[in-house]
Amino acid sequence: MKIDDEFLIFLFSYNQPRRPKLIENLLAGRKTVSTLFWGMRYRLLDYCGVFSKFKEFSIMSKVHKLEKSGYLRRSKDNKHLLLTKLGLDRQKNLIDNYYLPKHLDVYQKYNVAKFSKRFLLAVQIVSEYSFHNKQYFPLQMNILEYNLIKNWFKNNKKTDFILKMHRLLYNFADSLDNQRAIQFATALTGHKRIALTNEQQKSQLNVTSLQLYFMQLDLFSELIIFIKANQDYNFLYPLLSDLDIQLMGNASFDTFKLLIKGNSINKIAHIKHIKTNTVKEHLLNAAIVLPKTAFPYSLFLNNETIKFFKHNLKGNIDEWSFVTIKQTHISFFGFRLYQIFRSKH
């Protein structure tokens, strides 16, 4: 996948110095505390893992090019980059001319790629079935997924699901603007109809590969919401099974569940056979990803600690340094948790 310069411009800020390597790790979905924390600080957390399926991508050489062309500049410490005035102007100009994903929140909750494969096969099967055709090449997929769709088909074929499927496709396309409705329709394979390839869709929509990828993600993210929002489409609910994903990572989620059940950090470490530091990392990940009210900050930050932090840590949260309070009884875990807590204000 070719990463567009235009997209990279959106990942930087005029005011906030940002580390390009960290952004790269975020896009690749490397879920360390540092990556997730700064991803949150940069307000880019929803982009986490959005390129995880692309093999060996790197943004660094492109970032250097943008720097050379005067769109980005180095911060004082030489490690961070900021948009220049020229870069900021370009970003503003691009807002209406470059397609950015709009439903990454859905992407962070559900395996959208898995859903789209299931959905497209389901459409194909229903389409061929409506023409009483058994001789066709089904879309390719994993045997287990294929089996899921097969069972879904068996359970539904005696119902009026042809009509329902048609109505869903129609109503969903109708909810989109014309261009996106065409994009959706041409991505469907069915009886005597084969979806357009990505190359064909690109030239039809006049967009880059990356924009097309974002458009496809959005389309199927919206479709998930559309199906979930209407009981008429409950015949498709089996296609939504086992799609849940955790932005914080599965291991962090397991740790977080143990915490909620009332276990201490030491107890969790014992249960999971992991180090206490790992437990703390998992909990930080959970705090970063969850809304403020969903994480029990009070378990780790009592009033006294908060008072101490308020007194010692002032100004821009990005610039706080653990070194300034290192000599005290406060651990890095407490410091980072307070940073997260304050970021959620």
Partner: protein, 487 residues
């Protein structure tokens, strides 16, 4: 074969596959199998080798196990089986996830046609699972890979003789498009089969409805210009073969820019989903032309392909035969055109010899084999050498195998070079290469290094109008997906 049985087989053919009659060789192979014998079938590409074991499977109650060397081909074959209604087919190979493997193993008895890679079948655990099955027939696809005299020798194929023994297999069907006499003998010997129990059925590799044409060029520019001129008058659909993905992409763009043809590039750099779409668009006549690497077309059974153009040389004449064999399966006049530029042979050389370990490399590997054994290196050459080492082959034996392979490949390349530079009957040269005689040159036979009268061949088609499959109205598209449903 008696008339009654013949009549019955024809009936099975018609009712299950829709064909009126067998293609040359099919009936003879079936006859041998029905007599309980093993068979080696040397039938050209497009002769319908798959149908033989499909049909035999219909007449037997148990499993048909098919060993197939190419994973991509295996999936294509399974797709084709599914298409024909044989949903009880499965490709059992390394592309499956562990979860999928467990699923297949749990349900193994439900599958009638099991395609398996030789590597997988070498695994004793897998063999134990297959022991629970009653196997009516072991099919060895691309059986020439067993012979170390062949160019495509695959060491894992040597384990097949012990598989036959362990799984108590009584009948084997060896399939290949090309095998010299020496290779044939070697295959039977390596599989430890009794020669008296193996029936040999071979048909001519000649495809007389495919006109053969070569064309040499002094520069890339003249070659490209000629290609574009040719495409504007040549009857579609067709395939252009390339050795390089990059060039396939470039030429696709060039064709898009200069002609009104619907064309797409197809190679391993394209995602599975998009490859599926391109294959299906091509099969459904939505594409006029595919610019492909050799990955394309293996599992495709498209009858009306009118031309095969080689923009780059294949690595062997065997590969060339396989590729041109995809044209004209409907029996109608078709054409093979090789566009050759002197520098192309270098690329073919590199492709043919690049993956063979040299004597130095073999020496180095065997001297350090214990260290290599601990590393997990994915390099193809090392994997190959590890295989030999794990089977206790001596260094000198391995060196002799690969020297022989290089020797064979050089002879193959030389023949290919001679073929494209030939002034004379191309078909005669090609058939002689495959141990056949030919002396029936006529106007529809071949033309070396000259233009072809496409009108005479009935392959001229000037007014190519771009067919437009892209409905722009989404309502029409969605309505067209379902029978008799409209909003």
């Amino acid at each position: 074969m008696n008339d009654k049985l013949k009549k019955h087989l024809k009936h099975v053919l018609k009712s299950n596959f829709g064909y009126e009659d067998f293609r040359p060789g099919q009936l003879e192979v079936l006859d041998a199998l029905l007599k309980g014998k093993s068979a080696m079938a040397i039938l050209p590409t497009g002769a319908g080798k798959t149908l033989i074991y499909q049909m035999f499977g219909l007449m037997r109650n148990h499993t048909i196990l098919i060993v197939s060397p190419l994973i991509s081909l295996m999936q294509d074959q399974v797709n084709r089986m599914h298409y024909l209604g044989y949903k009880n087919s499965i490709a059992f190979n390394s592309t499956l996830s562990n979860q999928e493997k467990h699923f297949v193993i749990r349900n193994i008895k439900k599958y009638k046609y099991i395609y398996v890679s030789p590597e997988m079948l070498s695994d004793h655990g897998i063999q134990e699972i297959f022991k629970s099955l009653c196997i009516d027939l072991l099919v060895i696809d691309e059986a020439h890979c067993i012979s170390q005299w062949g160019l495509d020798f695959r060491p894992e194929y040597l384990d097949l003789s012990s598989v036959i023994r362990n799984l108590n297999i009584k009948q084997v069907l060896m399939l290949t498009a090309t095998a010299s006499k020496k290779t044939r003998f070697d295959i039977v010997e390596k599989l430890n089969l009794s020669p008296q129990n193996v029936e040999l059925i071979s048909c001519s590799v000649n495809r007389d409805n495919i006109f053969l044409n070569t064309h040499t060029f002094s520069s890339l520019e003249t070659k490209q210009n000629y290609l574009i001129r040719l495409l504007s008058v040549l009857k579609v659909p067709g395939i252009i073969y390339f050795s390089s993905k990059k060039v396939a992409n470039q030429v696709t763009d060039l064709i898009k820019a200069k002609t009104s043809l619907n064309v797409e590039a197809y190679h391993s750099g394209i995602s599975d989903d998009n490859r599926y779409r391109i294959q299906q668009q091509f099969m459904n006549n939505k594409l006029d032309l595919v610019c492909a690497t050799s990955a394309f077309g293996m599992g495709i059974d498209k009858n009306n392909i009118r031309f095969i153009i080689h923009y780059h040389l294949p690595t062997t004449l065997e590969e060339y035969m396989q590729e041109i064999g995809r044209a004209g399966r409907d029996g109608k006049q078709s054409i093979s055109i090789v566009l050759y530029q002197d520098s192309d042979i270098g690329l073919a050389n590199k492709l043919a010899l690049g993956d063979v370990p040299s004597t130095d490399e073999i020496n180095f590997f065997f001297d350090n084999a214990k260290i290599f054994a601990k590393t997990s290196n994915d390099d193809e050459k090392i994997k190959l050498l590890k295989y030999y080492y794990s089977r206790d082959y001596s260094k000198n034996y391995v060196i002799s195998i690969f020297n022989n392979l290089v020797h064979q490949k050089i002879i193959g390349l030389k023949s290919l070079h001679e073929y494209v530079n030939l002034q004379g009957c191309l078909r005669k040269y090609l058939l002689n290469y495959f141990d056949e005689q030919f002396s029936e040159y006529n106007d529809k036979c071949c033309a070396s290094n000259s233009t072809v009268d496409l009108k005479f061949l009935g392959l001229f088609n000037k007014n190519i109008v771009k067919s437009n499959q892209n409905h722009t109205n989404w309502r029409d598209i969605i309505n067209s997906l379902f029978y008799n449903v409209n909003i």
